[in-house]
Symmetry: D2
């Protein structure tokens, strides 16, 4: 049994989690079991896949349980994220932690994660080294940290060459500065590692916060054959608020989608939102509906003159096409 | 017994708290009792006061306990903060919540907080309506929310005219947008309320994030006799990272201090930092030392020609004076 | 003869000007005469008014010429802007310049501007004190500058109480910091001046750069009866790029319009864009068309349940309404 | 005759130029001849080199004149910048212009620039493709533009393999988005071109605006042997204000210098400031003095325990060292 959906849309379970933050440490809703979360997810029309964090959402003892839950629900396993951030032991970094024991522990956790992903048939492994960074000027030795970052992820990826490793970039949070902060820096990292199974996750909101145009960033990654995974959400460019898809940045969301389609991307679209105060189910459903509509709008644009306008850098013509076509 | 310090410097207990955030919900350190926290605080040289949150750090049943702890430690009670944010029931606002029952509950909690502050001899009451805001375009009725904000805080402040109520502004977090977002907006709010015991808290870091010059913002508040409380910390202007005082923005920290001194401010300087990954005690001690040095540097500048340079808007001269005087 | 248009939409002549900037000091197109500019403007469908700068676009010797041009073209004079920025003599400020002679010169220019506006029947006078600010920490005496700002504009406005003076705020450019930086600060200034003919201009793009929600800012100004003039354009929140209306921030543009309509605003909508590289006529025409459509979309929303969603702070419902209604 | 200075510090002539911008198109001071500008520059103590723009500050007919001026003044020719931005013909780009004739013209201008640089003994050629970018979503074809960018610069650099070509990145201005926006993206470009004489210019202020830590960015470039040229100035992270060195971001300026020294960099430090309202000579002199002091402070830090603190990611210790050592 698989779920019949128009598109390869997946999600993690943040919408069904407490969504605690530093000011409401008890969270905005009560925690649920994995079974409850998957049960809610099955009510989301258009959702085909789920992503889970290893080892923090499920550990080595939960593998058969997860296999059964996925099978029973009909969800595909769109990505296995490795828990590089949720534990305080990673507070000064994982691959770049000052303590070599911590670095080793992170690497071994990741290697094991690749094995689990292969075992469970996850489409890829998501690595977001969000604790690898710094908060202060003069806090870290940039040269040493970058050496460790390249070596550490390289060792992980070499462990299972058949498993795709999709590294996600983000400029800040939880660190005031994260090393892998934008698409260009990530391309530098991927190039330095130099392994075919190492690629990129682009998160629309992270790209906005990184001061990029997300469509351009996706094109750069795709040019190198490294666009492995796509996350969708929204914000005001100031912070990774993880808002409902298209709630703020309509045109850039459509443009992002247009160029991803044009690149020939065949992977997953992973909804990555934090509906702190909203009903999680309603928020996630709205995200799926909006992203489906965005995919349709991007398709519609391919049947207009917008490609010609872009080849002439004719902004007025592009704006006119968008408004005439999509806001009739 | 009181603590002998050079300046009226206080702090809350975030440095001795878990400092949980959305990615590390278990926090970066274990929780402590109030007794343990105060015990640690007594080891900070130069710290004279402490601030506590009512009713979340202590409730109505803890008043005598707090009185004894303060007395035994020698700390003054520099501010009583009212817990307008830590509970999920405030998720859609306190004074501006859509539910009138929640609004009433918030107002009554605040009134009671004013009574407790008076009882315990707190220098003032801190109100930070951080949940009063919105995350999405078209989420709220701005006109109704502002009416409720003015009326709600007005009712609270009128309850105990002898207690100073210091409203703190911040542009965002935990909401993507907070109504009381910058100094000008706060002055508008204070003016709309129109009560003598209602004034402002300026937080250096919040002011940076609000896109202001913090010294100018302090001057505007002081011009109206409304500079009630001052918070110090630092960040990169992008977010309220609550970093160690002066770790990033040296010149603006000194300028902020210079103008506060010049305004004749006689209140508290409250350290407001979140040392997620640092030793809390060491971080707080460094903040106190740095702020003491900033006060000294600001004093030194009054004995230079910098006032004359400013009266001529002569930036080169000001820069030269700063570098020659403070970086010998 | 007047121009038949659906809405009170006006514009200045930046789209027909060289649009020079610091890197292309010769401008992106050749300069034109006022006659040529008005001639082009008459070709813009839907444009009803024009705004002109006194004394830099026309001086005391050009008044009859301007009267004839306006009459012949059918344009209404939607606003007379006073030239507080284009001359290097204002480099350290106008009302707040260190030199009292410069301050006096600025005040007298403004007074004369009010007279000219009354003579020519301009709807109001636009004051944008963009040179009044600072570039460096410790550059200016904030207290003195604010005193001068309040007094200077007060003297100007008192000169002709029947002429509306609409002060425009903006956080930066050409100064790194402008005193009148956001809506709250402007309300503080207006309140300090305390004259009925002194009010506000809100520029959508300036509000975005100020870190505000522009709709909320408009509501605050309108609550005090001070929403005198409205400018429309767009940007990425990072800088006043003066892009084509709705080219980036669709939802917030619609929300801005929705609340302005709801406030009962009956004034002008002034297009304020800088099409450096685009055909000026085409860009301005597209702005007018887009703003007309935004007005229509805002009207459509009043016939949905969105007001109810907002009274419940129900963001998911608002997003659903926007997408279902406006993106069919 | 050469100028005796402690460090290899150079500058362009913006401080002696009108510094026009879009609001003061006539500039803040009168233009000067090259002779006058060099004459003023000779009065700046500590300045050893000058940079000039070809062909806009001097053209093919001025080469012997420039040779004589440099020789007579004793200045070294620290960089020849190629004029990729000042002419309106580049408004839609140089290497990425939609018009192939414009692209060809840009490439040929650059090739000739390399020849001139070699002839005049410039240390390197500076390429800042500031017009290559976009202002609107859906304005350009990212894939085509990037292909053209790589090919165009590649052709230029291959023309004279012995001339170093130092590409400068900046996220915005004059375009709302510039393709070569940050250090990571520039590394991707350099790697795609794949020629040994192609490297990077890092501008401290551009790096701040790009949301990077400038020291880290310099380390990344230096790791690849691509740190060819260094620009110094300052801003508030929001825009390339080109303020006096160290006027805002003291600690990060020192950190930037510390890591550049540590990388073994032996090139020029080019002051790149726009003192719109200041005396150009005084402003430039202050920049040189401040950067000399920054070099000294960075040197001092190498004799502290700060390297050890960084190897432990111990932020409190680093802050303490900075304050104790540099703010005695």
């Amino acid at each position: 049994m698989t779920r019949a959906t128009r598109y390869k849309i997946g999600s993690g379970f943040a919408p069904f989690s407490p969504c605690a933050e530093r000011f409401v440490v008890g969270g905005y809703r009560d925690p649920m079991s994995l079974e409850q979360q998957i049960g809610l997810a099955t009510r989301v029309e258009g959702l085909r896949g789920v992503g889970l964090d290893y080892p923090y959402q499920f550990g080595d003892g939960d593998i058969e349980r997860v296999r059964r839950l996925l099978s029973a629900s009909g969800f595909e396993f769109c990505t296995l994220e490795i828990g590089l951030y949720p534990d305080r032991k990673w507070k000064l970094g994982t691959f770049t932690a000052p303590d070599p024991g911590i670095r080793r522990e992170a690497i071994e956790m990741c290697k094991r994660g690749l094995e689990v992903a292969a075992d469970l048939g996850a489409a890829d492994v998501l690595l977001w080294p969000g604790q690898d960074g710094f908060d202060y000027p003069f806090q870290v030795d940039y040269d040493e940290c970058w050496r460790a970052l390249v070596e550490g992820i390289g060792e992980v990826a070499a462990h299972r060459p058949e498993v795709k490793v999709a590294i996600e970039y983000k400029p800040k949070e939880p660190r005031a500065n994260i090393f892998v902060r934008n698409a260009g820096t990530l391309l530098y990292l991927i190039n330095s590692i130099g392994l075919p199974n190492v690629g990129a996750t682009i998160d629309f909101g992270h790209s906005l916060v990184a001061g990029e145009n997300a469509a351009e960033a996706a094109v750069l990654l795709a040019r190198e054959g490294k666009l492995f995974q796509v996350h969708v959400n929204d914000n005001y460019r100031d912070w990774d608020h993880d808002l409902i898809v298209g709630a703020v940045s309509l045109w850039e969301t459509v443009e992002f989608c247009y160029w991803i389609l044009k690149s020939g991307y065949e992977g997953w679209y992973v909804i990555d939102v934090y509906p702190y105060r909203e009903d999680g189910l309603a928020a996630l459903q709205q995200c799926v509906r909006n992203w489906e509509k965005v995919l349709d709008m991007a398709g519609t644009l391919t049947r207009t003159n917008i490609a010609e306008a872009m080849s002439n850098a004719d902004a007025v013509s592009s704006v006119r096409t968008l408004w005439d076509t999509l806001l009739p």
